[in-house]
Amino acid sequence: MRENYSLFDRNTQSFVYGYQVNAIQRMLDFDYISRRETPSVAAIINPSRAGIHKVFWGTREILLPMYRTIPDAVAKHPQVDVMVNFASHRSAFETTMEAMDQDSIMTVAVIAEGVPERQARIMAATAREKGKTIIGPATVGGLVAGAFRIGNTAGTIENIVASRLYRPGCVGFVSKSGGMLNEAFNIISRNSNGIFEGMAIGGDRYPGSTMLDHILRFEANPEIAMIACLGELGGEDEYRIIEALKAGKITKPLVAWVTGTCATMLPGSVQFGHAGAKADTEKETARAKNQAFAEAGAHVPNSFDDYGDVVARVYQMVKEQGKVKEFAEPDVPTIPVDYGKALSTGLIRRPTTFICTISDDSGEELLYAGKKISDVLEQNMGIGGVIGLLWFKKELPDYASRFIELVLQIVADHGPAVSAAHNSIVASCAGKDLISSLASGLLTIGPRFGGAIDDAAREFKMAYESGLTPEQFVTEMKRKGINIPGIGHRIKSVKNPDMRVQLLISYARKNFARTDLLNYALQVESITTAKKGNLILNVDGCIGILFLDLMSSCDIFSKQDIDDVVKHGYLNGLFALGRSIGMIGHILDQKRQGARLYRHPTEDINYMLPTPEE
């Protein structure tokens, strides 16, 4: 059992209210270098999610349970008697009151700033009535060296090591300011054997526990040989300490300084950073308080600058009186540097898994192939231009961008009956969402549907580059028993030409410097149509072939670029992209109609199962 002068020891466990991953890790790192046996955080209370949270315990990872409510956590962890409350100022009051309602919770540290004064007073009075302790609100908390740390108190692990907070010294310290706590730890560790316990009660007018409350605990604690405090102008808290000094309730030497001596020198009334830091009467001024401290027998420096010197002097005094226990300095385990920090400071390096060469969202503005998104819009690059940047990493000439857009418009839809549209309609009718229905349609794109663009480009390119005459090419394909991809249409023929093909060809003739492959393909077409009227160059073939012509007639593409387009299936991408527009249209069309589940009629299926005899 702990003595009642001690709020925390090396076995104290707490709940952290609020999903404060950094603070939780800092508490555990402190535990680890203090060589605690158990983590000081038993569980997290997170109103928005129950589950587990992963933290480091030295180099090892451990799991902390996470509960939605305080009673849930208390039921599972009856040994926990502290709650570190990171709830915002809006819910700090209710959560703190709820925590104090739990028999097992004895101490609550309230971090939030901006808790109303009435709420703070009710919390404080409730704590007094129940014999419990509140630290805060509006504080970073406090710590017992080598035992327990509240949240972010004392900052980084380097600082904890520098101020030797991983093991107890003999000084009890209390301040109003949380921001000054760390500074005081630094000063005290340089001028004595270090902190035993340090608390910041918070800068508000009505803190849950007062400086005197903590000083009286320090007085009762035999491990503490001297006490130091740092007060502030405004309020009368310091006078309660002074009364206790006069009444002989504080017998250990007390170093005291009250900040804000400047206030009387400044024009007008300045509201300092802390809500309570304003002297309404002469008695509340820093000067009056410092004088009263000195008169009551406290050790009062001339200014904050001498605070450390006075601590050193008093420390020497108690040491000479034999009140300071000697101890051997423990070894401090090192905490591995956090990966993120080490990386950002250039201490370590690590090979990356992925490389991205097309876009970058890590800077101030999104970049497409190095070009700012604002420039893309300003220059009206359009969808064709964006495809140029993201697929080819090139700024395409205008006529090329427009050709891509022309293709996208042409392939955008081909009615509801073709594979992709049909599949997406069936999926949509089955109640699937837009993306699933779209995916269902996209999955039909391949060698037989839509995929002819790629195949045509590849076959024609190969034939042309290997020097086959159109006749040789047709004969060769026939010998292999392969239909020439990009040739042939179900309905269209020489007499009934495909408008889309006409449009593409006329655009190319007008805008491309050369159309070598198209010319070659048209020679092939004249041979095939001589055999059969519908063996025309179809729209897939035309797109694939013209795309290669576009590239080879435009000097920004190398031969390698053109080979890549064929090899990696860029052109099917063009089809998938364009056709997605149509598919999304069909899916939305079905959804708007509230179309019901589609079931294919059985009369349209020829059931031909093996007979039993077979």
Partner: protein, 420 residues
């Protein structure tokens, strides 16, 4: 976040609007009007018909008391007289105690001839709330303080456990019960509407109805989340004699929008010592040290930032200070102290990034004005932050002395001022 005074105008409007919820026979109508520098007085008279029908009282409404003693209260006036008075006094200077300031706001309300003046006030302290009540109210209440009944209300037990009736002064006679009910209602109004201080001195009774004549109130601005609706459209005026400069207002506006804290008070714009200190506690100590060394008169500002402000916030904060300090030249040059304690969780490098951005922007001006900068800070990522500052000094050609946690927090103050 702190206790903030509100105008008597707003206090009386709140009383008239909200007290009937606690005291159903309270029928004070809240006939009050506020004339500010831009108020259209004709429009005001058209909206508040009583202004031209009743005799009026006019007094400044700017968070200072003893207005009668300063000869600033106009009594028993017609609307024409009131108007003339306001037009004469508006924008003129008044001296109250040691503070001089401009008169900008006037409260106008019906003039209530009365003899009896009662006093009631409610304040709070650590142990609970205190109600003060006296039948001997008015300007001299302090002289007759021994006649004031003081009723303590325990924070947890509340007003229901305080036996108000028996504590009412005997001199009230058969009005004891009425007053006890009024005080109880007033207390509930006080505790449920975010007040931190409330004083009605005096109030009087007209045909048995309670009429507040003079009111002083402070609200706890941290209650805003809960009380916004009850407060209505009130504003928190600056204390008399202090009007916010545009720069102070700018920082205040940023402060209001962020979870971090940014404070700026300009003390002496011609001073040559400027500060930008991280932390509510540390900023006071730096200011102490500057005044201990005899430079209080040269201190240009009180400035504080804390609670992990982001890069953008520290950038705007720094820019505001740099702009102010490079307006007028000083042959001695200028000093900027960028100080702070060892931070607990504020990322020093991040906050410094914003400061560096602003300093870079002001490179030419900093040189022109002979600005010397002294930096001291510790805490998360401080090495990186200090490195940024050191590099910046070389880059800009502006003297920047940089210190870390190994140097005592306020050591940069004597270092800087010795050179001044």
């Amino acid at each position: 976040m702190a206790q903030r005074g509100i105008r008597e105008f707003d206090a009386k409007r709140m009383l008239a609007r909200l007290l009937p919820e606690y005291l159903n026979d309270f029928n004070y109508k809240g006939e009050v009007a506020l004339a500010g520098p831009d108020t259209d007085l004709d429009g005001m008279a058209a909206e508040n018909l009583w202004l031209t029908k009743k005799k009026l009282v006019v007094k400044p409404d700017q968070l200072f008391g003893k207005r009668g003693a300063h000869g600033l209260v106009l009594l028993d006036a017609t609307w024409q007289q009131a108007r003339k008075y306001i037009e004469e006094k508006m924008g003129s200077e008044a001296v109250v105690g040691n503070t001089a300031g401009m008169l900008t706001h006037f409260l106008i309300e019906p003039y209530i001839p009365h003899e009896e003046e009662l006093y009631v006030a409610i304040s709070s302290d650590y142990e609970g709330d205190n109600i003060f009540f006296s039948t001997e109210g008015g300007v001299c209440v302090e002289e007759k303080w021994d006649q004031v009944a003081r009723i303590h209300v325990d924070t947890l037990k509340g007003i229901d456990k305080a036996d108000l009736l028996s504590r009412m002064p005997a001199s009230l006679g058969d009005r004891k019960e009425q007053m006890a009910r009024f005080v109880e209602a007033l207390f509930k109004f006080y505790s449920e509407c975010g007040f931190a201080y409330l004083e009605i001195n005096p109030f009087t009774l007209v045909d048995g109805s309670i009429i507040p004549l003079d009111m002083v109130a402070k609200l706890d601005d941290a209650e805003e989340f809960w009380c916004r609706k009850k407060w209505g459209d009130l504003e928190f005026p600056e204390p008399f004699g202090r009007s916010l400069s545009p720069e102070e207002q700018y920082i205040k506006d940023i402060d209001a929008k962020t979870g971090a804290s940014l404070k700026l008070t300009i003390l002496n714009p011609r001073g040559h010592v400027w500060t930008m200190i991280a932390g509510g506690g540390a900023s006071v100590i730096y200011t102490d040290t500057i005044s201990d060394l005899g430079f209080a008169g040269e201190l240009a500002n009180y400035g504080e930032y804390s609670g992990d402000p982001n890069t953008e916030e520290t950038y705007h904060y720094t820019k505001t200070i740099l702009d102010l300090m490079t307006r007028e030249k000083d042959p001695r040059g200028k000093i900027l102290l960028i100080g702070g304690a060892i931070a607990n969780f504020t990322d020093v490098a991040n906050t410094f990034k914003g400061i560096v951005m602003a300093l870079r922007e002001y490179r030419v001006k900093l040189k022109e004005h002979g600005v010397k900068i002294y930096v001291r800070r510790g805490g998360p990522n401080y090495e990186e932050g200090l490195k940024l500052m050191r590099r910046l000094g070389t880059e800009l050609g502006v003297p920047i002395e940089v210190f870390g946690p190994e140097t005592h927090m306020t050591r940069i103050v004597p270092l800087a001022l010795k050179e001044a």
